[in-house]
Symmetry: C2
Subunit: 307 residues, 2 copies
Amino acid sequence: MSDSEFDLIQDFFAGLDQGTSVRLGIGDDAAALALPDGHLLHVSTDTTVEGVHFLATLSPTDVAYRSVMAAVSDLAAMGASPEALLLSLTLPEGDRVWLEGFSRGLADACSVIRAPLVGGDTTRGPLSLTVTVLGSTPADSYLTRSGARPGDRLCVSGTLGDAAAGLAVISGRLAVDVSAAEFLTTRYTKPSLRLALGETLRGCATACIDISDGLLADASHVATASDVGLEIDSALLPLSEAMRSSVDPDQSLDWALAGGDDYELLFTLPRNIPLPDGCTEMGRVVAGSGISCDRTPERIGYDHFRR
Amino acid sequence: MSDSEFDLIQDFFAGLDQGTSVRLGIGDDAAALALPDGHLLHVSTDTTVEGVHFLATLSPTDVAYRSVMAAVSDLAAMGASPEALLLSLTLPEGDRVWLEGFSRGLADACSVIRAPLVGGDTTRGPLSLTVTVLGSTPADSYLTRSGARPGDRLCVSGTLGDAAAGLAVISGRLAVDVSAAEFLTTRYTKPSLRLALGETLRGCATACIDISDGLLADASHVATASDVGLEIDSALLPLSEAMRSSVDPDQSLDWALAGGDDYELLFTLPRNIPLPDGCTEMGRVVAGSGISCDRTPERIGYDHFRR
């Protein structure tokens, strides 16, 4: 291995730091950004570890793309617009072939979210990535988990459970036809990006969260933060055509309720607000606490420190 | 292990997110911050990995404190004031005793830098930390690596090489008397914080960088970014009393030139600007490129991907 850390950054990441808000990009001690006056800064960080959050067989392009989308999904849940991201990459060795694939995924992701990569760190160690995302909203207009009120509708974007089914296909635990396999695995490797929906919901949804750990697990965060109960009708859960045609109905519902990695938005909407296109009403906010659902899947969500 | 990720965050990190700029702290999808209008945001991220950046024997309190200070040092080098930080912690298991020590170091660090911890992530995996720091400066007043001009003085804060000597003491490679051992190891575990100096240098230093990888290595970044040469007089390097009294002079100079982890500021200053207190002039900026020094240490700096 002859590449220095400095060379790696120059070769693979330096070109992605262009943007109108960037005053100083990669290559100094910190990046400098000019954010719009009168706006709030929203910031979140997410770590993904090989063998924990993704399989060792996942391509480096997909590793990069998924990690960025997972992190940016937190901005979507706030109704925020991406301003910039930072990537800290820990990898066992400076493998240029791996890094070329990785940097392609990273460039794709930056292009899709229309935000520059303004900084990061590369270190040697077991493969993991930490993506920090910065976004902005007008000062008094952003979404939280805590505003759901009894009587609101409980809604979700897209379809649920596809990423869990896709991971099962990739892992050889689920056999489906070629087109369903392609759809489901792509839902895992290239998760939805709901930034436009988040911006639409700003000022009309009462609460919002992105579904990363599974519908039931993430819904419970909204219930706790809002001090309300949430009722979910499993019959109303949105399932994709690929899921309905290829997967046993019980398994489909379990994945829709408890599968992670969908990165759809779960939100609560007052009755007088029209449901946005591509979204489904599948429950309601009630006085009380916790989640009630007519179905209990075998495994609820994913928690790194419970087993 | 019975703690969930959510419990760990609540128990150990949730109290540190208070600050005048914080609109929304830990517990939602992202934190929300109101930064001063007309200011630039400065952002940097640093990962430290057990066994690479710190010894497995380092106490959890020191692991936390050092990691935050190392990251905040990048803000000092920009002349920026800390606004907030985020911590992503990957650890093999949810060991509450370890986490209690860790959270003490983290709380100490937040108190010293006077900035809240507004977000983070906890995941399971080999022990590592990624600290992301956010700071601000007035829009057109910040330090970079790229403004050094021939004729400027080359200066440094504090004393050099102490952290490398302290690490040698901790590792059993250097035997010194008790008071020198305490001073040197503390320089390693509790590095200098030069935020006030960075703010003082804003608008008068022509270039600045923090010394994390060793004086020669970091000076070379300034030379490259500024397109100048830097001359260093090894006889002028500032050495601590503990270093001078306890360590062989050749070894002292090698550590001062090539030892990492000092987190002092290296900066270039026009001749008409007075040298700030606690700083030393130890060289000059010249036309040309690269670093020239009357002494070549055996090992220059630290690079994760060169060996």
